[in-house]
């Protein structure tokens, strides 16, 4: 397990949220959960972006024309 440094003031806020919650047994659990959500979302959008970057606009137009000529597009 790794340790990260955060401002004390933020740590106090996170302690309070985790303490008031029934879902998380500790601040570590809460912070891990929140950061995982953000990281997964970020990585997914990076993947989506990577996919859309495969073809430039010009390339995509060429591929669509080819697919049309092969009977795959209306």
């Amino acid at each position: 397990m790794a340790q990260l440094n955060i401002p004390d003031e933020l740590k106090e806020k996170l302690d309070k949220i985790a303490g008031d919650s029934d879902e998380f047994s500790s601040t570590d659990d809460y912070v891990t959960y929140v950061l995982k959500q953000i990281a997964d979302k970020k990585l997914k959008s990076a993947e989506d972006e990577k996919q859309s970057e495969v073809y430039s606009k010009e390339d995509e137009a060429k591929i669509k024309e080819r697919l049309k000529n092969l009977g795959y597009l209306d």
Partner: protein
């Protein structure tokens, strides 16, 4: 020296290869007389993308999250689509498994391998590569060797204009010649354990020339037409090229696999699905077009439209759902009921002679254990694939006997072909198998266990 060589022939179809032509294909006949062969059941849908990638992963389209060349994210714009490339495939492919086990792999033209992947070996991408200026080889410098070997490499021949058959055939032969010659060169110069090529010409000749060869085709060009043997002659040419590979000293100890991703048959006609949806009140236009028009160019009244469709070799049907689509017209709570009703209506559709068309309409969950990616709401298969669903509008009818997007006389069929040939084990067997069985079989031929979670199982020798 390669241990296993795989030759993919996109769309090679069992009724031609095994039933009609086999005695004139002496090299493919070795797979029949001295190996294991049979029909290879394709994916649902039976189209090139996703079929080859399902073959290479032993995962179905639902698990791959790829339902065709184009896909639409539910809730995105009515015209939105994204094109499936290798970048979306998260599952391991056969070359990944082999590389991990220390075997090298050389892949030439396997559909959906653009953008190319770094692997232990080489990769030359497939027909969905924008052009020769694209990064189409791994490693990069291989492109120079390709140019030196075959000149201008040809990814595909895709043309639905009214080209004369002579011109079409010449272009297809040239592409095929270059691909086989390149593969031959790569076998000679690259020391890879597993080598695979996929040739697209078989599919292209079927689509362009089916009405010249099939007396049962509604537009058969007559028993005396001068192209009546053109598909047989092309298969003979492909067989000859396979024979050249089999005669190379570098391949004398190799085992062989031939496969295709789906089969082919005559197109009975075109069922104009969006015209039918208009007639049935599902799709509402503000004004009906004067000319034949693609749906995205039509003036659609989206707030009154309940459903629309994409055509192709199968159909994808989308519902216009409130809260999901921008101008959704049916509440989410009614979606399943609406699907049931539309499935029933479409499955009851009759052909233009009043006979049941034999349509099958599915929800993605009916077809796949896992449904990932961006599935359509329904997948439609018309007349056991003999009727092609058309998406264009402006015909003032719902049946046609020509294609709406340029000359095309062939449609796909559910079964492709496969054959295994090992010169050291020449017991012959006929066994029909599934496209998902190819990767497990390849892994087994390299002495590897078949990983859990594959949809197929190995074909025993």
């Amino acid at each position: 020296m390669p241990k296993l060589i795989s030759i993919g022939l996109d769309c090679a179809t069992p009724q031609l290869v095994f039933d009609q032509y086999i005695d004139e294909l002496p090299n493919i006949k070795k797979f029949v007389d001295s190996g294991v062969h049979g029909n290879l059941r394709s994916t649902t849908p039976a189209i090139t993308v996703p079929a080859w990638m399902s073959m290479m992963t032993s995962k179905d389209p639902g698990e791959l999250g790829v339902y065709g060349f184009r896909n639409r994210k539910p809730g995105s714009g009515y015209d939105d689509m994204w094109i499936a490339t290798q970048a979306v495939i998260k599952q391991k492919k056969v070359w990944n498994y082999l590389n991990e086990a220390g075997f090298t792999t050389g892949m030439l033209g396997v559909p959906m391998t653009f953008p190319v992947e770094k692997l232990n070996g080489f990769m030359v991408s497939s027909f969905l590569t924008p052009g020769l200026e694209s990064e189409y080889t791994y490693p990069h410098d291989l492109r120079d060797e390709i140019e030196k070997t075959v000149g201008e490499y040809i990814f595909d021949y895709a043309n639905r204009s009214d080209e004369a058959p002579e011109k079409v055939l010449k272009a297809i032969y040239l592409m095929t010649e270059k691909r086989f010659n390149l593969f031959k060169h790569l076998i000679k110069t690259q020391d890879q354990d597993f080598m695979m090529m996929v040739e697209m010409g078989v599919d292209r000749i079927h689509h362009y020339m089916w009405s010249y060869i099939d007396p049962t085709h509604p537009k058969f060009q007559g028993a005396d037409n001068k192209f009546k043997d053109c598909v047989l002659n092309y298969y003979k040419y492909v067989d000859e090229k396979i024979g050249e590979l089999m005669a190379m000293p570098e391949t004398k100890d190799a085992k062989w696999i031939i496969t295709s991703d789906h089969g082919a048959k005559a197109m009975k006609g075109l069922f104009l699905l969006n015209e039918w949806l208009i007639k049935e009140g599902y799709l509402v236009l503000n004004s009906y077009p004067k000319d034949i028009t693609k749906l995205e160019k039509c003036d659609v009244n989206w707030s009154k439209t309940k459903a629309w469709a994409w055509g192709g070799f199968y159909s994808r049907i989308f519902f216009n759902v409130e809260g999901r689509e921008e101008l959704g017209a049916i509440p989410l709570s009614d979606l399943e009921k609406e699907k049931d009703l539309l499935i029933k209506k479409l499955e009851e559709v009759k052909d233009d002679e009043g006979n049941p068309m034999g349509n099958k309409i599915y929800r993605p969950v009916d077809l796949y254990e896992k449904v990932t990616g961006d599935p359509p709401d329904l997948l439609g298969f018309f007349g056991d694939l003999s009727w092609r669903p058309g998406g264009t509008i402006g015909h003032n009818k719902i049946y046609m006997h020509e294609n709406d997007t340029g000359p095309d006389d062939g449609v796909h069929d559910w079964n492709g072909i496969y054959g295994l040939y090992d010169p050291k084990n020449t017991n012959a067997r006929h066994e029909n198998r599934s496209i998902y069985d190819i990767t497990p079989t390849i892994l087994d031929m390299f002495g590897l266990d078949v990983p859990n979670g594959m949809k197929g199982s190995m074909i025993k020798r």
